[in-house]
């Protein structure tokens, strides 16, 4: 397997094939969990773990999965990894588990996970699928962390729970609520497509 192939597979989801700002996948969790940096970090680590390992597992199994039931098998494997994340958080990071509530379980429905399996893992070798899954998770993670950075800072004047802006700052409550997620995501997509992809000037 060529190293160039791995590099290409790794870099695509971080840039021109980014799951969030190019493919517009996984939007629901983008809106739901990005109002605190710490929650976002834990959530995106969970997504990275799930996409990487479920892509790998299904790639290993791909020759034996009967094609008519492949989606059931995919969902089952994804759900298993998500439950592993949920149990691990519950046992070792209970405060965070309480805060994230149902969102960890909802990783199962994140379209990025199943999308990468259907589009990539079922046609490629396990190691390459692992790289693709991990990179897709990372492409999702850094977009969410940027959005969470601005939402937490503008919405509560804090970062990672520490007060950054002084008492002169009036919190923008809208940033903490779901509409704030829409605004930040839209602005982010706009800036990236305008400034990086130069779509407006084509």
């Amino acid at each position: 397997m060529a190293a160039g192939m791995i590099k290409k597979t790794f870099l695509a989801p971080l840039g021109k094939d980014n799951p969030v700002f190019v493919q517009i996948l996984g939007i629901c969790s983008t809106l739901a969990v990005t109002n605190k940096l710490e929650n976002t970090m834990v959530m995106t680590l969970g997504v990275m773990f799930t996409t990487a390992l479920s892509s790998w597992t299904l790639s290993v199994m791909r020759k034996w999965i009967p094609s008519r039931i492949r989606m059931m098998v995919e969902t089952m494997i994804i759900a298993t990894y998500v439950i592993i994340v949920d149990i691990a958080l519950k046992a070792f990071y209970p405060e965070m588990w309480k805060q994230l509530g149902p969102y960890v379980g909802l990783i199962i429905t994140n379209c990025i996970v199943m999308g990468r399996i259907e589009a990539f893992a079922l046609q490629n070798k396990p190691m390459l699928s692992l790289v693709d899954g991990l990179a897709s998770g990372m492409g999702y993670a850094y977009v969410l962390l940027v959005i969470a950075f601005f939402r937490e800072l503008l919405g509560t004047g804090t970062l990672w729970g520490y007060q950054i802006l002084g008492s002169w700052w009036t919190n923008w409550s809208i940033m903490i609520m779901p509409p704030g997620g829409f605004f930040m995501l839209a602005i982010f997509i706009w800036i990236v497509r305008e400034a990086v992809f130069k779509e407006g000037t084509k």
Partner: protein, 197 residues
Amino acid sequence: MKTQSFYAKRIQPLMFMALVTIACILVTAALHLSTLERVQINEQFFLWRSVLDAAAISHDGQPNSVATLFQDMVETYENQYVVETEDGTTRYVVERTGPGLWGPITIMIGFNDDLKTLAGISIVSQSETPGLGARIEERWFTSQFAGKQGPFRMVEEGTADAPEEIDAITGATITSESVKNIMNRVTAESGNISREQ
């Protein structure tokens, strides 16, 4: 296209799915069972900590010291906790649940000996908006109730002055009102809490 045999079309996928399901269940069940004890210890720690917070017993938040304090000072009864403090007074802690904006809010409420004045409160569980309604868990909010008697009134954040006034959370009016309703109900009924067990 060649037609598949009945086995390849119906039986084999079924068996494959059954095998995958059993394997996945075995993995998750094993993980669940191996962490069960830890999870129960965590839950017990959260419960004990909220009882101590409601009874205004200061602690350092470490699992060991919380457990020691709880076992030394607290008697658990069917629907209340009785806390014997170091200076000889008794505090009564009850748990109450009421509706919030997104789901139920459960609060641990501690009363002083007179069964009227609040020793403190702590939020046991809630599913309010993170960053807004979820701020009812923060100490500046819960500590407002200590030493006061109900009924309470929610006022704009930062303007609470009179004894019955509580700073509401800006942007979380419904959550603040929900907490107020739970608190006003429990303080109105506090005379019913039994001193004898």
